[in-house]
C-alpha cells in the first residue's frame, strides 16, 4: 500500500513529477536530497571547510597551525633551527618515539591508554643488547626476540583487560613499573651495554640515508600512487552513479602533495638527506593508515572506540579487536625501543625512561587522536611527534635545560587536551560528535 507520506521520491512532493525525473536523472545518487548543502567551485569548497572547522570538526588543523607557529618562533630566536642539518637531526629524533606513538594512537582510538610504552621500549632495548652483545645471538634473532617481548606484553594486557575488565589505565600503570623492573633485571649488574658501531642496526639508525635520486623517485612514486588511487575511486564512483571528485581537484591535491613531500626532501638533501629510520617510520604510518581506513579490522577499531556495545551487537569480535590493538601497541613500543637503542648505539637503565612515555602519548594527543576514543588517524603520530621534537630541538638550540623543556612540553600537552575537549563539546552541539 502506498500512503501519501511514503511517495518514493526523496524530493519535495509538490514539484511536478516530469521535472523531478529529469532533475534526478542528471544528479548523482548521493546528491539528490534538496536539503544537502553543496559546495560549488573553489570558493564553495573553502567555505565548506570553514563551516566544518567552526562546528568543531577540526581534524589536524590546530596541530598544523601550531607547527608553523613553533617553527617561525624558533627560527626567529635561532636561525640555525630551520637549517638543513638541524632538520635532518629532527627527523631522526622523531622516528623512535614516533613509532611508539603510532601504537598509542591505536589504543586511543579504542578509548583506552597504554602508560607502559616507555618501559616496554626499554625492555626491548635491553633484550636486544643482552642477547646480541652478551649472548652473541645473530642480530635478526635478537631483533625478533625483542619484538616478541612486545607481542607477549600486549597479549598479557589484552588478556587482563578482556578477561577481568580491569581498566587499561591501571593494567598499564602496573606494567610501567613491572617492565621497568624486568628491564633492569635483564640488563643485570652492568647496567649499560654498548651495541657495536659496525652492526647494521646501529648503521641503519645513524648512518643510512637515502641517495638523493632515490628520495626523489620515492616522492614521485608516492604522488603517482596517490593520484592514481584518487582517479580510480573517482571512476568507480562515477560508474556506480555516485558523485565523483572532479579531475581538477585531483590535480590540485596531487600537486599539493608533491610540494609537501618534494620541498622538504629537497631541503633535507642539501645536507645528509632522508634517514632510513625516518623513512621506516613514515612507511609504518602510511601502512597503519591503510589498515585503519580500508580494512574491516580498522573499521571495527573505530566502531569499538565509538560505541563498544553497538560494535558487539553488530557481530564484531570485540575481544579480538582489544587484544590485537594492545599487541600492536606494545609491539610498536618494542620496535621504537630497538630504533632508540640503535640511534644511541647502547641500551642502558635509562632506555625508555625519562620523557619517552609521556612524549609518545603527548604526540598522539597533540596530533589529534581523541582521548575519548573513535577519533584520530595514524598521521596523528607523525604530526604530533614533529611538534614535540621541534619544541625539544628548539629549546636545546636555545641552551635551555631539560627543566624548562619538560615544563613547556607539559604545557603543550595540556593545550592539546583542552583543544580536544573543546572541539568535542563543539562537535556535540553541532551534531558532529
Amino acid at each position: 500500500m502506498t500512503t501519501p507520506t511514503s511517495t518514493p521520491t526523496p524530493s519535495s512532493p509538490d514539484e511536478p513529477p516530469p521535472t523531478e525525473t529529469v532533475r534526478l536523472a542528471a544528479v548523482a545518487a548521493d546528491l539528490q536530497d534538496e536539503r544537502l548543502i553543496q559546495p560549488h567551485g573553489l570558493g564553495g569548497t573553502i567555505r565548506a571547510f570553514g563551516k566544518r572547522v567552526r562546528s568543531g570538526d577540526i581534524g589536524s588543523l590546530p596541530v598544523v597551525i601550531g607547527l608553523i607557529v613553533i617553527w617561525v618562533a624558533f627560527s626567529l630566536l635561532n636561525p640555525n633551527f630551520l637549517s638543513s642539518t638541524n632538520l635532518v637531526n629532527l627527523t631522526l629524533q622523531c622516528a623512535a618515539v614516533g613509532t611508539i606513538s603510532i601504537g598509542i594512537v591505536l589504543v586511543l582510538l579504542l578509548g583506552e591508554i597504554d602508560l607502559s610504552v616507555g618501559s616496554v621500549s626499554g625492555l626491548s632495548a635491553a633484550i636486544l643488547a643482552v642477547s646480541f652483545v652478551n649472548l652473541g645471538w645473530p642480530l635478526p634473532v635478537s631483533l625478533l626476540a625483542s619484538l616478541l617481548a612486545g607481542v607477549v606484553v600486549g597479549l598479557l594486557y589484552g588478556f587482563l583487560y578482556t578477561r577481568f575488565g580491569v581498566p587499561s589505565f591501571v593494567i598499564t600503570l602496573a606494567g610501567l613499573l613491572g617492565f621497568l623492573g624486568l628491564q633492569l633485571w635483564v640488563l643485570g649488574s652492568t647496567g649499560s651495554i654498548n651495541l657495536p658501531f659496525d652492526s647494521w642496526i646501529v648503521q641503519f639508525a645513524q648512518q643510512w640515508f637515502l641517495p638523493d635520486w632515490l628520495s626523489y623517485v620515492l616522492v614521485v612514486l608516492t604522488v603517482l600512487a596517490y593520484a592514481g588511487q584518487l582517479l580510480l575511486t573517482a571512476n568507480r564512483r562515477a560508474a556506480a552513479g555516485l558523485s565523483a571528485v572532479p579531475a581538477t581537484s585531483i590535480v590540485v591535491r596531487s600537486v599539493f602533495l608533491l610540494l609537501v613531500l618534494g620541498v622538504p626532501t629537497w631541503y633535507l638533501n642539501q645536507t645528509r638527506g632522508v634517514g632510513a629510520m625516518f623513512l621506516l617510520f613514515l612507511i609504518l604510518v602510511v601502512v597503519m593508515n591503510f589498515f585503519l581506513t580500508r580494512t574491516r579490522w580498522g573499521r571495527s577499531v573505530y566502531a569499538v572506540g565509538g560505541n563498544v556495545e553497538a560494535a558487539r551487537r553488530s557481530g564484531i569480535n570485540v575481544t579480538r579487536i582489544y587484544v590485537t590493538v594492545f599487541v600492536l601497541c606494545s609491539t610498536f613500543a618494542a620496535l621504537g625501543g630497538i630504533l632508540a637503542a640503535g640511534r644511541l648505539a647502547a641500551a642502558n637503565q635509562g632506555s625508555g625512561g625519562g620523557d619517552t612515555n609521556l612524549n609518545a602519548i603527548a604526540a598522539a594527543v597533540i596530533g589529534g587522536a581523541s582521548l575519548f576514543g573513535g577519533r584520530g588517524s595514524a598521521f596523528s603520530a607523525l604530526l604530533g611527534i614533529l611538534v614535540i621534537q621541534s619544541i625539544s630541538s628548539g629549546l636545546t638550540l636555545l641552551n635551555l635545560d631539560s627543566s624548562i623543556r619538560y615544563m613547556i612540553t607539559g604545557a603543550v600537552l595540556l593545550l592539546a587536551v583542552i583543544v580536544d575537549s573543546l572541539s568535542r563539546r563543539t562537535r556535540v552541539s553541532h551534531g558532529r560528535a
Partner: protein, 288 residues
Amino acid sequence: MAALSAPEVSTGELVLSLRGIDKNFGAVQALTGIDLDIYSGEVVALVGDNGAGKSTLVKILAGVHPQDGGTITSDDKRVSINNPADSNNLGIATVYQDLALCDNLDVVANLFLGHELGRGTINEVEMEKRSWSLLRQLSARIPSVRIPVASLSGGQRQTVAIARSLIGEPRIVILDEPTAALGVAQTAEVLNLIERLRERGLGVVLISHNMADVQAVADRIVVLRLGRNNGEFKVADVTYEDIIAAITGASDNAVTRRAQARVDAAGAPAATVGSRSDDTALPEEDRP
C-alpha cells in the same frame, strides 16, 4: 535490488515458535512459561506494563541472555540461541531501543557495520551504492550517507537502525520501542517503514507502549503481564479497553475471566493460522 531481496510471497508461514520459555535473574522469575509464535508477513505486537518481561523476551530472541527453560523451534527444528551470532544465523534482526549506532561513523559504515563488503579491503563505493538503494526502497529521507550518524535527527537515526537490520536479509525483525522518542511525523514514517517490512514478507515483532501505534500497524497483539502470557488478540476483534485490561490485569476477576475465555477461544485459533495484512484494525485510509 541487491541490498534487499524481492518481497517474498510466503506470507503467513510459521517462522519461529517459542514454547514455555522461563527465565530468572537470581531470585526474580522474569518469565514463566511464555509462548510466542512469529509468522512471516505479520506484525505481532508485544505489549505489557513495565516489568512485564517484554525486553527479557527480546533479549532471549536476540541472543543476549539464553533462556533457562522452554523450547525455541525454527522451521520445525529445535534451535538454541546462545549468542547474538546464533540469533543472526536464524535470520533474526533486532533493533534495540538505544539503536546501538556508532556516532563517530557515517551512515554507510553504520549500515554495514560487521558486514562490510569487499575482499581484504572495504568496497566503499559498492556499500554507498547499496545504502542509497536500500534507503530509497524504504523511502527514507536521509540527506547524505557520508555524514556522521550524530548529526541525524531521531527519526533518521531510527530509520538507519531499521535499515541496518535489513542488511543481513533477515526473516524476523524485532523492533524495541521504535517510536518512543519520536515526534508525530517521524512516528508516522517509522510506522510506514514497519508496513513496508510486512509487505516484504518479514515477520515483525513490535514492542510498544503506544496503543495507537500498535493498533495502527499490528495484526496480532500478545500481552505479557508479570512475566506470563496474559492474552493474545487479533487487532481486528479487540477494543482498546480489552488490551488495557489485559495489560493492567484489571480483568482478573471471576466475571471478566469468563469473558476473557470466550475472547481467547474466538481469537486464538484465528491467530495461530496467521492473519493477512488487510486484517488490521484501521481502514487503509486512516493509517498514518
